[in-house]
C-alpha cells in the first residue's frame, strides 16, 4: 500500500507537469480529488488493510492527499491571477468585425412607406409599362389631341403611336379596361418629362397613382382618405389645404398642398398631390357607366415628397448613385 501511495505521488507529479490551463487543472482535480477520484479509491482500499498497518499508511495517505490538494490550490491560484491579469489586458475597445448592410434607395423607401399606408387602407398595388401608347397616356384620359392641356406635360415621344409615359395615370386605364369595379388600387412607377435637368427637375421621376371606383365613392371620401394618408406620412399635425385645379381626367379636380415650414425660413404652401373625381369621359373610354359608377383618382410625385421629408434641395443627388448619399438612408 505504501508503495502504491508513493507511486501515485510520482504519477501525480508527472500529470501535474502537463497542466497548462485551468480546464486541465480542473480535470486533474476530478481525477485525483473527485468523489470517485484516485485518492478516494485509496481511502477505500485503506479501509481493508490490517489494523497494524493503518497508522503508517494512514499518515502517508493523508500526506499524499494534502500534498495533491496544496499543489492544486497553488496552481489554481496562479491561474486565477493570470486570468485576472489577462482580463485586465483584454482590449474591448478594438473595433468589432462589422458587417455592412446595404440600403434601398431613398425613392424606394419613400414609395414603400406610401405603399404600406395605402395597403392598410385596402388598396392593391399594380404596375404598368413605361413605354405607353399615346391613347393610354393622353386620349383615354381625356386629353384631346391639339389641346393646350397637353402642354402641361412635356413629353418624350417615340413616334406617333408611342411615348414615354408622362404620368402613372395610364395604368388607371389599363386597370379599368381589364377588371370590373370595385377597383381600389395604387400604381407606382417611373415617369418621364422632357425637361431640362436642374436642381428642381430631372428627365424622369417616380409617381404613385391612386384609383377607387365603386357605386358610392364621393369627393368627401377622397378628402378623408388623403388626409388620413397625410397624417400618417407627415405626422398628425400636418397643415393642408385642398385647392381647386384642373386635370383633364378628373372633374372636379383639386390639388392638395401641405404647409412647409423650413427652420429659420419663411413657410409656404407646397403642392403634394393632384386629385379629383374620375371624369365621366374617362369612364366612357374604358366602358364603365358614368351614371352608375363614381370614382376618385390621385397622383403624387415620390421624389418631391421624399425631398421635402428629408430636406434635400437638389433632385439630381437622387440619381447620382453617390455611396456617401446612399448610405445615409
Amino acid at each position: 500500500m505504501i508503495n502504491k501511495i508513493s507511486e501515485t505521488r510520482s504519477i501525480f507529479d508527472n500529470d501535474f507537469l502537463q497542466i497548462s490551463d485551468p480546464q486541465s487543472l480542473e480535470e486533474l482535480r476530478i481525477k485525483y480529488l473527485g468523489r470517485k477520484g484516485i485518492i478516494q479509491q485509496l481511502f477505500d482500499e485503506f479501509k481493508e488493510i490490517p489494523r497494524d498497518e493503518k497508522k503508517v499508511v494512514g499518515q502517508a495517505l493523508n500526506e499524499l492527499k494534502n500534498y495533491i490538494q496544496s499543489r492544486y490550490e497553488e496552481l489554481k491560484a496562479k491561474f486565477e491571477e493570470e486570468k485576472s491579469k489577462q482580463e485586465l489586458l483584454f482590449d474591448v475597445t478594438l473595433p468589432g468585425r462589422v458587417k455592412t448592410i446595404g440600403s434601398k434607395h431613398l425613392i424606394t423607401q419613400t414609395l414603400n412607406e406610401i405603399k404600406s399606408i395605402f395597403k392598410s387602407l385596402g388598396f392593391s398595388v399594380y404596375e404598368g409599362p413605361e413605354i405607353e401608347s399615346d391613347y393610354n397616356n393622353f386620349e383615354a384620359l381625356n386629353f384631346p389631341a391639339d389641346h393646350p392641356a397637353r402642354d402641361m406635360q412635356d413629353t418624350f415621344f417615340i413616334n406617333e403611336n408611342f411615348l414615354l409615359r408622362t404620368h402613372t395615370s395610364p395604368v388607371q386605364i389599363r386597370l379599368m379596361k381589364s377588371m370590373k369595379p370595385p377597383i381600389r388600387a395604387i400604381m407606382p412607377g417611373k415617369v418621364y418629362r422632357n425637361e431640362v435637368i436642374s436642381a428642381k427637375s430631372y428627365c424622369l421621376f417616380h409617381q404613385v397613382e391612386g384609383l377607387y371606383v365603386d357605386k358610392d365613392v364621393t369627393f368627401a371620401e377622397l378628402k378623408g382618405t388623403l388626409v388620413a394618408f397625410l397624417k400618417q406620412f407627415f405626422g398628425k399635425d400636418v397643415k393642408y389645404r385642398f385647392r381647386a385645379s384642373f386635370f383633364p381626367f378628373t372633374d372636379p379636380s383639386a390639388e392638395l398642398d401641405v404647409w412647409w415650414q423650413p427652420k429659420g425660413k419663411e413657410g409656404r404652401w407646397l403642392e403634394v398631390l393632384g386629385c379629383g373625381m374620375v371624369d365621366p369621359n374617362v369612364f366612357i373610354n374604358v366602358g364603365i357607366d358614368p351614371e352608375e359608377y363614381v370614382g376618385y383618382a390621385f397622383g403624387m410625385g415620390i421624389e418631391r415628397t421624399a425631398m421635402r421629408k428629408y430636406g434635400i434641395d437638389d433632385i439630381r443627388i437622387l440619381f447620382d448613385s453617390d455611396i456617401r448619399f446612399l448610405s445615409q438612408f
Binding site: L94, P95, R97, I101, G102, H105, I107, K115, K119, L121, G122, S124, V125, Y126, P129, E130, I131, D146, H147, P148, A149, D151, T155, F156, F157, I158, N159, N161, L164, P182, R184, K190, Y192, N194, E195, C203, L204, D216, T218, F219, A220, E221, K223, G224, T225, V227, R241, A244, F246, D251, P252, S253, D279, L318, F319, D320, S321, D322, I323, L326
Partner: protein, 800 residues
C-alpha cells in the same frame, strides 16, 4: 398672367376685403396666385433726388460726380450717364436700396477713387422699361425725397396668377373679376360702351369674306377713319406696363388693353395698306413666306389660317399680324379685327411656328364668340377718346353659322352623390348667377342653366358640380371619418421586386436609380435600342437596352469621389426593338424588368483581424447563387461558361430549362475604358420577368433528420484541366443515395504534385432518413467513389 389689383377694382369693388383673403380665396377656387408683387416695395429706399451740382470725374472721362439731395442730406454720387444735368429731378437709389432689375443691394463704393453714396437710375435699372439710354428724368415739379413709387404713381399690387388650360375665360381682368364676384357674392360692373359714331357704315368702306368658316366661324371688323397715331396717355401706358406689356402706340395699346380687359384678342390693320380695303380669311398657300410684325420671315403651310386682303396675306390669323399692314405713326384709317378662330387650328399653327403670342394663347384655349362685337366697340370707344377719328356707325359681322346656346341641367341629388355633401340650393343658384349663367328652369330636383359663351369648359353636369364646389369652397366639404374596405384578395405586383431588394440589402448591396436615357453610341453597344423622337440633349437620345451603362456611370461617379469599394444594384426596365421597322404595337419591342448587381474594389479592406482582398469572380458567383436560391428552386438551374462576349470578358450564364435567366462576370475592359474605370468590375444581370414567370413550388415542412450524418474526406491529384464540377459529377454518379452533399474544401497546386496537376479535396456527407448508417456501408460507398474518380479521371488518391 399678371393681374393688376387697381385695374380689377374697375370691375368689382374689393377695397374693403383684406388682400390675404382675396389671394387665399382665389387660390382655393383654382386661380392660383403664385406671387404677389407690391409695386411700392420695389422701390424701397429709392426717392426723388435733385441734382445740385455736377463735376467731371477726375480719373475717368465718361463719368461725372454729382451732388444729389433728398431734401435733407446731400450725397456724393458717381454717374456714367451722358444726359445727367444739374437741376434735374431723378430717381435716386440710396445705399441699402435693391436695384429692381439686378436684385443687388446697393452699397457705398469708391469708383475710380471717388466715393459714391447711391445711384441715379435708368428706366431699365428700375425695371420700368428697356430704356437704358441715360438716366430717367422725372417731372421737375416732384418734391425731392418723395418715395419714387409715389412719384411714379406705382402703388399697384400685382397678382401673378397661374391659369389652368381649361379656364380661357379667366385670361382677363373681367374674367378674374367674375370669379371674385361669385366668391365674395358681389356684383361686377362691365364698362358701358357708348360711341360717338359718324354716319358712315363699316361695310361702305371695307369688306370681309370668310373662305374657311370651320376655322373662322366669326369675324367682326370695325372701321375708324382719321385717327391720330401717337404715344398713349400716361394712364394707359402705366396699366400696360404694370402687367409687363410694352406700350407701342395709342391704337395698338388700346387693342392690348381690351385684350387684358375682356380676353378678346384684337388686331388693328392700317386700312390703307389693305388692298381693296378687303379682308379674306383663308388658308395659306403651301410654302408661302410671310413677314410677321417682329420682322421675321415665316414659312407657312396650307393648314395655316391667314388673314388676307385682295392681293396678299396680311396676318397669320390669331397668331401675329404682318409687317405689311402694321399700324404706324403715319397710319390714318384703321380696321379693328375682333374674331373667333377655331382653337385647334390656331394651336397647330402657333406650335408649328414656335410662336406663342397673347392672342394665340387665348384663341387656342377658346375665346368668347359672344363678346366680339362688344370688344370691337370698346376698342373704338377708347381709340376715339385718345386718338380721335371718325368711328363707323356699325360693325361688319360675318357669322354665317351662329353657335347654338348650350343648356345643361344640374340635379341636386347628383351633386350630393359626387361630392358626398349638400350645398344649399340658394347658394348654388347665387354662384351660377354671379358667374354669368342664366337659370332657365328650376324645380325641386334640378336647375337648368344657360352656359355663357365664354365657358367652353362647361360641357356636362359634372362640370357644373365642379363650379359649384370650387366656388363654395372645397374646404367646406367634410372629410369622411371612416371608409369601408372590400374583403376580396389584395394584390401587390411590386412585392417580388421588394423581396429581391430585401435579399440584396441584407447581402450588403446599395440600391441605385439611374437615368434610363443614354447616348446613342453607348446604347448601341448593348442591343438594338429605341430612340426618342425629341430628346432633351444628345447625351440622352436612346432608351437603355441594358442596366450596365447606368451601373458603370454610377461606379465612375463614386470613383471620382474616391469611393472605390462598391456593392451596388439597380432594378429597372430595359427596352429593345425586336426589329428595325416602325414600332406599331407593343409586340414590336421588349420592355423587361432587369436586375443588375455589381461589385468592385476590395471585398475586405485592411482590418486588424483580416487581410485585404479584392472582389473576384467567386464573390460574384456566391452572391448570384444566394440570390437565386432565395428566389426559386435552384436545383433546376444550368450554369454555362461564357467567354469574351460584348459585355463580359469571362463569366457564366444561367438557364432555367431553355431560358436564360441571368448572365454576368468580369466586365470587358473596353467598356470600363469608356467610363475611365481602372479597376475590375464584376457584374451580373438577372432577367426578372423570366424569373418571375418560373412557377414557385409551395414551401412544405421537411421532417428534421433523426439519425447522425457521417462524413468522409478525400483529396485527389488530377490534371489541371479537369473542372471541379466534372469530379463532383463522377462522385455523384458512382455513389448510392446515401450520399447527400459534396463539398469542395481545398484546391492546391504545386510543383511537388507534378507539372500541370492540381489537388482537389472533398468532403462527402452521408446519411439515411430512416436509420443509422454502419461504418461498413459508408466505406463501401466511399471507396466506390474513389475508384470511379481514379479510373474515369485518371486521378491519383492523395489522401483520405
Amino acid at each position: 398672367m399678371k393681374v393688376s389689383f387697381n385695374w380689377l377694382n374697375d370691375y368689382i369693388d374689393l377695397k374693403d376685403i383684406p388682400l390675404d383673403e382675396i389671394v387665399n380665396r382665389l387660390t382655393l377656387a383654382g386661380l392660383e396666385v403664385e406671387e404677389i408683387i407690391d409695386q411700392s416695395k420695389n422701390f424701397e429706399n429709392i426717392v426723388v433726388g435733385y441734382i445740385k451740382d455736377k463735376r467731371k470725374h477726375p480719373n475717368a472721362d465718361k463719368l461725372s460726380v454729382c451732388i444729389v439731395t433728398d431734401g435733407n442730406n446731400d450725397f456724393n454720387v458717381v454717374c456714367g450717364a451722358s444726359n445727367v444735368q444739374v437741376g434735374q429731378k431723378v430717381p435716386f437709389a440710396k445705399v441699402g436700396a435693391i436695384i429692381p432689375s439686378e436684385g443687388i443691394k446697393l452699397e457705398k463704393a469708391k469708383i475710380r477713387g471717388e466715393i459714391s453714396e447711391g445711384m441715379i437710375c435708368s428706366e431699365k435699372e428700375l425695371g420700368i422699361s428697356d430704356n437704358h439710354e441715360g438716366i430717367m428724368v422725372l417731372n421737375s415739379e416732384l418734391k425731392e425725397g418723395m418715395p419714387l413709387s409715389e412719384a411714379l404713381g406705382m402703388n399697384d399690387i400685382l397678382f401673378d396668377i397661374a391659369i389652368t388650360p381649361n379656364r380661357a375665360d379667366a385670361l382677363s381682368h373681367i374674367g378674374i373679376a367674375r370669379d371674385l364676384s361669385a366668391i365674395f357674392d358681389r356684383p361686377i360692373k362691365i364698362p358701358k360702351v357708348e360711341l360717338k359714331e359718324s354716319n358712315f357704315k363699316s361695310d361702305e368702306i371695307a369688306s370681309v369674306e370668310i373662305f374657311d368658316i370651320v376655322n373662322c366661324p366669326r369675324y367682326v371688323g370695325k372701321v375708324i377713319m382719321n385717327v391720330k397715331i401717337q404715344e398713349s396717355p400716361e394712364w394707359l401706358k402705366k396699366r400696360l406696363k404694370s402687367i409687363g406689356l410694352r406700350p407701342i402706340n395709342n391704337v395698338v395699346d388700346v387693342t392690348n388693353y381690351v385684350l387684358y380687359e375682356i380676353g378678346q384678342p384684337l388686331h388693328a390693320f392700317d386700312l390703307d395698306k389693305l388692298s381693296g380695303r378687303k379682308i379674306i380669311v383663308k388658308c395659306a398657300a403651301d410654302g408661302e413666306k410671310f413677314i410677321t410684325l417682329d420682322s421675321k420671315e415665316r414659312k407657312l403651310t396650307s393648314k395655316d389660317l391667314m388673314i388676307c386682303d385682295a392681293e396678299k396675306s396680311v396676318a397669320i390669323a390669331g397668331v401675329m399680324g404682318g409687317e405689311n399692314s402694321e399700324v404706324t405713326y403715319s397710319t390714318k384709317n384703321i380696321l379693328i379685327e375682333s374674331a373667333f378662330f377655331n382653337p385647334s387650328s390656331i394651336r397647330k399653327t402657333a406650335k408649328r411656328l414656335g410662336l406663342q403670342t397673347d392672342a394665340s394663347y387665348r384663341f387656342e384655349r377658346g375665346t368668347d364668340y359672344g363678346i366680339t362685337i362688344w370688344a370691337a366697340r370698346r376698342a373704338a370707344q377708347l381709340i376715339y377718346e385718345i386718338a380721335g377719328g371718325d368711328v363707323a356707325k356699325d360693325e361688319i359681322d360675318v357669322y354665317p353659322n351662329p353657335f347654338q346656346t348650350k343648356y345643361i341641367g344640374l340635379r341636386f341629388d347628383r351633386l350630393k352623390k359626387v361630392l358626398g355633401y349638400e350645398i344649399p340650393e340658394e347658394k348654388i343658384k347665387k354662384i351660377f348667377v354671379n358667374l354669368g349663367f342664366n337659370i332657365t328652369k328650376h324645380d325641386k330636383e334640378k336647375i337648368t342653366l344657360e352656359i355663357p359663351t365664354y365657358r367652353h369648359d362647361i360641357e356636362r353636369e359634372v362640370d357644373l358640380i365642379e363650379e359649384a364646389a370650387r366656388i363654395y369652397g372645397y374646404d367646406k366639404i367634410p372629410e369622411v371619418e371612416k371608409i369601408s374596405v372590400t374583403l376580396e384578395e389584395k394584390i401587390d405586383q411590386s412585392q417580388f421586386n421588394d423581396n429581391v431588394r430585401n435579399i440584396l440589402t441584407s447581402l450588403g448591396f446599395f440600391e441605385i436609380v439611374t437615368n434610363s436615357l443614354l447616348k446613342e453610341d453607348i446604347a448601341n453597344k448593348f442591343g438594338n435600342p429605341i430612340a426618342v423622337l425629341n430628346p432633351q440633349s444628345i447625351e440622352m437620345t436612346h432608351l437603355r437596352p441594358s442596366l450596365i451603362p447606368g451601373m458603370l456611370q454610377a461606379i465612375l461617379n463614386n470613383l471620382k469621389v474616391n469611393e472605390k469599394n462598391l456593392q451596388l444594384f439597380e432594378i429597372g426596365k430595359v427596352f429593345e426593338r425586336k426589329h428595325n421597322d416602325q414600332l406599331k404595337s407593343f409586340d414590336d419591342f421588349y420592355e423587361k424588368e432587369s436586375l443588375i448587381i455589381a461589385i468592385t474594389g476590395k471585398a475586405i479592406d485592411r482590418e486588424w483581424y483580416d487581410k485585404t482582398r479584392q472582389f473576384d469572380f467567386y464573390d460574384l458567383k456566391g452572391y448570384v447563387q444566394t440570390i437565386l436560391e432565395k428566389l426559386l428552386n435552384s436545383e433546376k438551374l444550368i450554369t454555362n461558361k461564357i467567354f469574351n462576349t460584348n459585355d463580359f470578358n469571362i463569366g457564366i450564364e444561367i438557364k432555367y430549362d431553355t431560358k436564360i435567366i441571368g448572365r454576368g462576370g468580369l466586365i470587358q475592359k473596353e467598356l470600363l475604358k469608356l467610363y475611365d474605370i481602372n479597376q475590375d468590375v464584376y457584374s451580373f444581370i438577372f432577367d426578372l420577368d423570366e424569373i418571375k414567370s418560373i412557377p414557385t413550388t409551395k414551401k412544405e415542412f421537411k421532417e428534421l433528420l433523426k439519425f447522425p450524418k457521417v462524413y468522409r474526406d478525400f483529396a485527389f491529384i488530377v490534371d489541371e484541366s479537369i473542372e471541379a464540377e466534372t469530379v463532383i459529377e463522377v462522385i455523384k454518379n458512382s455513389s448510392s443515395n446515401l450520399l447527400h452533399h459534396i463539398k469542395l474544401f481545398d484546391i492546391f497546386q504545386s510543383e511537388s504534385l507534378g507539372k500541370g496537376k492540381k489537388s482537389l479535396a472533398f468532403q462527402l456527407e452521408y446519411y439515411d432518413e430512416s436509420r443509422t448508417l454502419t461504418e461498413e456501408e459508408v466505406d463501401k460507398d466511399f471507396w466506390n467513389a474513389i475508384r470511379a474518380v481514379e479510373e474515369k479521371l485518371k486521378a491519383k488518391l492523395r489522401g483520405i
